[in-house]
Amino acid sequence: MNGAANTLKGLYIPAVLGLAWLAGSHFSLWNSYIIPPPAEVAAAFWQISSDGSLAKHLLTSVYRVFVGFCAAFLLAFPLAVLLGMFSRLSAYFDITLEALRHIPPLATIPMLILWFGIGELPKLMIVVMATFFPIFFNTLHGVASCDGKLVEVARSFGLTRREIFRRVVLPASLPSVMVGLRLGLGYSWRALVGAELIAASSGIGYMILDAQQLSRPDLVIIGILTIGVMGTLIDLLFFALTQRLIPWKVGESTDYGRG
């Protein structure tokens, strides 16, 4: 609707914070080691952008999120569909899934390192663990809450079970699935950076940790801002995709699944 105006409104707070940062540094309201001035951060940003190290770290992280996210989807989606369609099966899975849901992925890092070393695999597993549940639960909710009256319509037209799944249950649960995917993406970013903080030699999380050890708060700030900006960009992309895939919801609630 009034998207441009709302985008503008959304930029007020970042602008005020930016100005406060500028002014505070200019008038030396704080120690420049604790909060380095914008110019210094900009110079560092320019330096690591031009030597390609920022791009390298970023690409590594994006790649890990992408692979982990896809793997989580391939695990969570079929299982959720299965349990949603055959609710009798869920008795076998309920307790296990409920217990696993409460374990923060980062808590498993020591074991993952012990079992799989510090290569790519444990980091991807962290992403998968963090992404699995939002996708799983939202898909399950979508499939299980599909309106039985619509299924009945399909039955009255003589559709088979398989056709009913493809033509009624799947599209009916699509909005929920998309919510799960968006939440999952956010979760995978957070978990990944956490994983990279502990055991990695590249990636944005590693970059931040490395900067800490080199006493470079400017690089830490760049790392933090990069995570925020990347997350927002990916989410926007996903939001556009959602609008495309779920045209019948457009206008009903434009910020579908944000939260």
């Binding site: 009256k149 009945e152 319509v153 009255s156 037209f157 045209p247």
Partner: protein, 249 residues
């Protein structure tokens, strides 16, 4: 194609029993009647009298407990009768446009130009051409129910079952759709079984009104007034009194 164009149905001692709180409940109790091919039959009764259950037995959405349902065809001996249902709510797929909803039951038809002709024709017939690409959430209740009727018409059933399809609509929309349904019946020669609790609607639409009470048909009232009917016609009002009297016994 040796399918019947119209189908009737003969019910013999048809029963449906439910367990409600551990007690058996005869929702449909020993119903025997015949619905002639090409006829317009209305089943009337108060809530819980079993009329919807009877309709669901005919549609195959419920399994009978006892008795028989025998299809009467126009030539094929009643084999493979296509039954279409119009529900009380429109029950449209929210992710499909009006056009796609109408074509919902035609997915297996390989000739898409045939499908297009069928859907476009039905859209026109129901005055929905301008709403072709709208989504159900953008439609009024009356329009949505038209689409629902159109979806069933596109399916081209031999028998149309309608479960209080106009019950949730406002007075004016309901009157309009009743008239349109009569026109459709006259032009398409479909067998229609229509369930309602509205006695006025029953005598306006039906050639035969089956009065149901506690799972049984307590009275069959034939109405041979020609279409289109006037709701104020004294002979219709007399029929209406007769039905009300049967219901109040």
């Amino acid at each position: 194609m040796n399918r019947p164009i119209m189908a009737g149905v003969k019910l013999t001692q048809l029963s449906k029993q439910y367990q409600v709180a551990g007690q058996p409940l005869e929702a449909v109790d020993n119903v025997t009647t015949t619905i002639e091919p090409g006829s317009f039959t209305v089943i009337v009764g108060r809530s819980g009298c079993g009329k919807t259950t009877l309709l669901r037995l005919l549609s195959g959405l419920e399994q009978k407990s006892a008795g028989s349902i025998e299809w009467l065809g126009d030539g094929s001996g009643g084999a493979d009768v296509k039954v279409g249902v119009v529900f009380q709510e429109p029950r449209l797929m929210p992710w499909l446009t009006v056009y796609e909803n109408m074509a919902f039951a035609l997915d297996k038809q390989p000739d898409r130009t045939l499908v297009d002709r069928q859907v476009t024709g039905t859209l026109e017939q129901l005055g929905l051409t301008g709403f072709r690409d709208a989504y159900p959430s953008q439609l009024s209740g009356g329009m949505a129910q038209r689409v629902s009727l159109g979806r069933t018409l596109c399916y081209d059933p031999d028998l149309i079952l309608m479960d209080e399809p106009f019950g949730a609509l406002d007075y004016f929309t309901r009157k309009k759709l009743q008239r349109e349904l009569v026109d459709l019946f006259l032009s398409q020669h479909k067998t229609i079984v229509f369930v309602t609790h509205d006695v006025t609607e029953a005598v306006f639409l039906g050639q035969k009104v089956l009065v149901m009470e506690a799972g049984q048909i307590v009275r069959e009232v034939p109405i041979d007034n020609p279409y289109p009917r006037q709701a104020t016609d004294p002979s219709l009002l007399a029929r209406q009194q007769e039905i009300l009297a049967a219901l109040e016994n």
